[in-house]
């Protein structure tokens, strides 16, 4: 390998970068400068970052280098990554993609952020996202749409679209994301990267700006399942500050990565291969399933009879919870306040009317309606009952199979503007991912090929707390394929 190729750090994944750092072949400051330069050179074409935190990044990199020298470094010390702008970062603007928080400098760190900081991970900046994580295309951001690095006329998916685009273009080796209805998996699929949403309660939500509290879950977005395992090792775990975080030991997520797949039972829900699925996407997914068969897995047809209801159920649960969560934005203590309010009511209504974008207002109103007097039973209660039935479907399926596979999204990345006037068609982009959030299960998306140069994701869903198995199932596939290594031409 020539000197120049050695220095192509963006062509290396976290595992490789970590090895270089540990061996002293590169310093964290060098790596950090390298990726900051890439962001500077390329992000104007993508808009994947809202804030680039150069000064803090270089200071953290120097500290990491000291730790690497004095022997106190961990496996991720010195590696630079990006954070979705939904995670509170002390002293750094945390906008959540909204005008409402454009001026919000967080006074504290989210637990995910502080855990990664303690592990020596360097933050490059904060990535763009759909406003308050409400969207599937990253077009609802106050800071403008993010472009897909594989085709800049198209969306990167959402809501963690900035994180997905930044990793796909290798402007950051990895990033954090959050997933309420598919917001890690769908953009990972559309940008050709690997992402995992763990079991609900596995990662602390403290300092992660709340959208729908019973569904929101953070997770890593990276170039491979192995990279995701390294990040999850740091991100997962109990936190007293999140009342829904589960007190359960965190395994070493890399420990199962060598396990052969012979005998693995893969469930294929017939509902995920029916009407609405693009024929070319299906072909790619079937190709990935053939690969699993070669690896010794068994494919079993299953049914998830209530999964067709997951989109309607989600559009009650998520708006209802968001209408409650977003009531805190009132212009009193932080964030945006309208100019010259005449009285308190005028201040509330104009602050919120001007501070929130159209999609956020739509969802707040749907939630307000569903929770209003006389409608609670018909909407929220009914949706929680159906959620129970959707979860039961999965429970029964996991008696017969180890993991469930299918497409992550029914189509590849669509054109910017194509669905922005039609909320319902946008919502259907998450038709295969939403049920997993409603049931609280872990799920991931893995690059499985291309249709007309646009990436396709394979969704793998596992049983509760079986992230280790899920990551290994993805890892074995990645040992035998190289879809996850593909980099878009303009970012080579």
């Amino acid at each position: 390998m020539s000197q120049d190729e050695m220095k192509m750090y963006h062509k290396k994944n976290l595992v490789e970068l970590s090895a270089l750092l540990q061996a002293g072949e590169v310093s964290s400051v060098e790596l950090t400068e390298y990726f900051l330069a890439r962001i500077n050179a390329h992000d104007k074409n993508l808009n994947s970052f809202i804030s680039v935190t150069e000064v803090q990044a270089l200071a953290a990199a120097e500290q990491a280098d000291a730790a690497l020298k004095n022997g106190t470094a961990g496996p991720l010390t010195g590696v630079p990554i990006a954070h979705k702008d939904i995670f509170c970062t002390e002293g750094v603007r945390t906008s959540c993609g909204s005008k409402m928080l454009d001026n919000f400098i967080s006074p504290y760190d989210a637990t995910v952020v502080s855990k990664l900081k303690q592990a020596g991970v360097v933050m490059l900046g904060k990535t763009n996202m759909d406003e308050f994580a409400m969207g599937s295309s990253n077009e609802t951001s106050f800071y403008g749409a993010v472009k897909n690095p594989w085709d800049t006329d198209r969306v990167p998916g959402g809501s963690s679209g900035g994180s997905a685009a930044a990793v796909a273009a290798r402007l950051a080796p990895a990033a954090t994301g959050t997933d309420t209805g598919g917001s890690i998996r769908q953009p990972a699929a559309m940008c050709g990267i690997t992402g995992i949403k763990p079991t609900y309660g596995r990662i602390s939500r403290y300092g992660m700006i709340a959208f729908a509290s019973s569904l929101d879950q953070a997770g890593p977005m990276a170039q491979s399942a192995h990279d995701c395992a390294l990040l999850l090792n740091v991100m997962a775990g109990f936190d007293e500050k999140d009342s829904t975080c589960l007190d359960k030991d965190v395994p070493d997520y890399t420990a199962e990565l060598g396990k052969p797949l012979a005998g693995l039972r893969i469930g294929l829900p017939k509902e995920y291969f029916g009407e609405g699925l693009d024929a070319d996407v299906e072909k790619v997914v079937r190709g990935a399933l053939d690969e699993y068969k070669k690896l010794g897995a068994e494919l079993i047809d299953i049914e998830l009879p209530n999964s067709g209801l997951s989109v309607p159920v989600y559009y009650v649960v998520a708006p209802a919870e968001c209408s409650a969560n977003l009531s805190r934005f009132d212009g009193v203590r932080y964030g945006y306040r309208c100019e010259n309010p005449v009285d308190l009511m005028d201040m509330y209504t104009r602050t919120r009317g001007e501070g929130f974008g159209a999609e956020v207002k739509r969802r707040i109103m749907v939630g307000t309606y569903a929770l209003s007097s006389g409608y609670y039973d018909a909407y929220y209660l009914k949706s929680q009952q159906l959620r129970h039935k959707i979860s039961e479907d999965f429970r029964e399926a996991f008696e017969k199979v180890d993991v469930i596979m299918g497409p992550t999204s029914p189509d590849t990345a669509f054109k910017i503007g194509e669905k922005s006037d039609d909320p319902i068609s946008m919502y259907l982009s998450d038709i295969y991912t939403i049920a997993v959030n409603l049931a609280g299960l872990p799920g991931m998306s893995v690059p499985a090929g291309f249709v007309d140069g646009r990436p396709v994701g394979l969704q793998i869903t596992g049983n509760y707390f079986r992230e280790s198995q899920l990551l290994n199932v993805a890892h074995q596939y990645q040992l035998n394929t190289d879809w996850h290594r593909a980099i878009p031409e303009d970012f080579l």
Partner: protein, 95 residues
Amino acid sequence: MSLDVDEVKKIAYLARLKIEEADIPGYVSNLSDILDLVAQMNAVDTKGVTPMSHPLDAVQRLREDVVTEGNQRELFQAIAPKTEDGLYLVPQVIE
């Protein structure tokens, strides 16, 4: 399920959202479409089904009622739109 202009205005008021008059018809149509989508739930009988409160049937964790956070008023008020003498200022409420 279709909503009318007055219903949308009422919902906006309950949600404390000022919606420009010109934008109301758009919301009427979008919200009605979403409620139509949601109405698909009615196809399934859920009589006797327990509503799900947590995917893993976890119960609310309790803690001792003690102070765990120190006073950081200055830090928090540094990002407030308007404060005076350590208090948050809003438009006058009482004449």
